[in-house]
């Protein structure tokens, strides 16, 4: 059940998308997301679809992984689509009691659904091809200018990378505890809601203890290695733009201009 979380679910293959600098990917995702809201015509969405398909093919990640994130937003998708479908527009094409479906509403709902789906898939492409560490490195570097406004960018990035790093650790830990309690005959699947909630206690108590133990071990290990925040800290693998990143930026710019142009078709 816990394995469904796509966040920080890196898919380890070697592809040109994987090799891009995380900043390029962050910016690329941002451009893609904005472009979805710039356009509202069919050619625009065709272009976005084309771009997305190209990225997915280039990333060599199976398509089924991309759509995993959609499960989480399914309800949201359903609500926004039905609202748009039933409550906007003038030209009625179908009526059932007080419900009416309009031509404009249908079009808007379709675009809205596409936008949401592309948003999720677009960001999945980034998280599936970038390790959490690279991602936070990229964020830290890209947002470095905020340091001037006294925003502790490094500390936030460090907290984020630790939190991301702990997701798989605690997932594994939970999995182990569940197995251990199952081996003692624990039953998590049957009974009513209250019984099931009660059945969680033998998992949650050891998990809490494990989380605190891990956190305090990590704090000790960091102090033992003289960690004292970001000042003067160097990187083992400093981020550096390569030729492929410049090419990617050119493609992104061209894509965005084209997307913007579709507004005037």
């Amino acid at each position: 059940m816990l394995r469904d979380i796509t966040l920080g679910q890196y898919y380890p293959v070697d592809s040109c998308i994987h090799r891009l600098d995380p900043r390029t990917k962050l910016f690329g995702t941002f451009v893609f997301l904005v472009s979805l809201f710039v356009t509202s015509s069919i050619p625009g969405y065709l272009l976005a679809t084309l771009a997305l398909i190209c990225c997915i093919r280039l990333s060599r990640v199976p398509f089924s992984f991309m759509t995993r994130g959609l499960k989480a937003v399914f309800i949201l998708l359903l609500i926004s689509v039905s609202f748009n479908m039933f409550f906007t527009g003038e030209t009625v094409i179908f009526r059932l009691g007080f419900l009416r479906i309009t031509k404009e509403g249908l079009k808007l709902a379709g675009f809205m659904a596409l936008r949401l789906v592309y948003l999720v898939i677009g960001s999945s492409v980034m998280t599936l091809t970038t390790t959490p560490t690279q991602l936070t490195d990229g964020l830290e570097k890209s947002l470095g200018f905020l340091n001037r406004f006294k925003v502790p960018v490094h500390d936030i990035a460090m907290m984020m990378s630790i939190a991301l790093r702990f997701i798989p650790i605690l997932t594994d830990e939970t999995d182990k505890i569940i197995r251990a309690q199952k081996a003692r005959g624990a039953d998590f699947e049957s009974g009513n809601l209250i019984r099931r909630a009660k059945a969680m206690v033998p998992i949650l108590v050891p998990l809490f203890i494990a989380a605190f133990r891990r956190a305090s071990d990590l704090a000790l290990a960091m102090e033992a290695r003289c960690y004292h925040g970001g000042a003067g800290r160097t990187k083992m693998k400093p981020l550096k733009y390569a030729r492929r990143d410049r090419i990617a930026y050119v493609i992104m710019t061209a894509y965005f201009i084209l997307m913007f142009a579709t507004r005037f078709i």
């Binding site: 898919y11 380890p12 293959v13 199976p62 992984f65 182990k176 505890i177 197995r179 251990a180 309690q181 199952k182 081996a183 003692r184 005959g185 624990a186 039953d187 206690v201 033998p202 108590v205 050891p206 203890i209 494990a210």
Partner: protein, 283 residues
């Protein structure tokens, strides 16, 4: 009364880039009342293999028979099986959660649907057989020492009164004294109650001393399954698997190389003493 593994294969993340074979086509029989040492390098598939014995992992192909019945068949009572095949995980103390030691040990029997008195009765028996007396019953499991915690966790499994006890590295992280105690306890349970034991370890010395059969895993495959004597004859292969042979066997090999003619399939201290005495008598 035995556990039979039939062409057991387990593949993690099948069909993705993370695909890895943890267990490949393992077939063997664990006889009732035996003491099996399961040995293998880290990542050789030992832990995955043992989780099939009580149905926690479902095999990709192949199956497990417990007393002749397929445990993965539709409608097989896995909960009942888990009471019969007790599995003690690595670092079992991390699964303790109750307010008191006694309550925690009662968790297993309670899940089996026993009455409160019966649970407590079994818990007391299990705790005392592991050397934890009444003074421990009311204490929080979190204030015990490492070795005591481990024994309390083991008691949690024993209280279900299993017929087979599977232990995954029960001595990991214990000091030499607690380690010896733990192994002696397991041996005692095997000898006195006739419990079938599967002891997972990567220390040949532990296994050689106690097991009457050794199962060697390497790279997800079963390599040897035989008496210690037979297995230690393959010392070259064992070393190739990243495993060592018991210290005492090593000494026998070296004595042999130095021209002192004693058998090289020695695996315990007694055998070594006997063989060396015999050699001197002959000379």
């Amino acid at each position: 009364m035995s556990i039979e593994l039939k062409n057991l294969t387990h593949i993690y993340n099948q069909g993705t880039a993370m695909e890895s074979v943890a267990v490949r086509n393992v077939s063997c029989t664990i006889d009732d009342g035996s003491f099996v040492g399961l040995i293998g390098h880290t990542g050789s598939g030992k832990s995955t293999l043992i989780q099939h014995l009580n149905g926690l992992e479902v095999p990709t192909s192949g199956t497990v028979l417990y007393n002749g019945e397929d445990i993965f068949a539709q409608g097989y009572d896995l909960k009942h099986l888990r009471g019969k095949v007790g599995l003690v995980f690595q670092y079992p103390e991390y699964q303790l959660f109750e307010e008191t030691v006694l309550k925690d040990v009662c968790f297993g029997p309670k899940n089996m649907g026993l009455s409160q008195e019966e649970c407590e009765d079994r818990a007391r028996k299990a705790l005392s057989s592991l050397g934890l007396d009444e003074s421990y019953y009311g204490r929080s499991p979190f204030e015990l020492s490492g070795g005591e915690k481990r024994r309390a966790a083991l008691a949690g499994i024993l209280a279900m009164e299993p017929e087979v006890l599977v232990l995954d590295e029960p001595t990991a992280g214990l000091d030499p004294e607690a380690r010896q105690e733990m192994l002696d306890l397991v041996k005692k349970l095997h000898d006195e109650r006739g419990i079938t034991v599967v002891l997972v370890s990567h220390s040949m010395d532990d296994v050689a001393e106690y097991a009457d059969k050794i199962l060697v895993m390497n790279n997800a495959e079963l390599k040897f399954y035989d008496t210690p004597k037979e297995v230690f004859k393959h010392s070259k292969e064992l070393i190739g698997f990243g495993l060592s042979i018991p210290e005492i066997t090593k000494i026998a090999h070296e004595l042999n190389a130095a021209g002192i003619d004693i058998p090289t399939d020695i695996s315990t201290m007694e055998e070594a003493t006997e063989a060396i005495l015999k050699y001197f008598k002959k000379a």
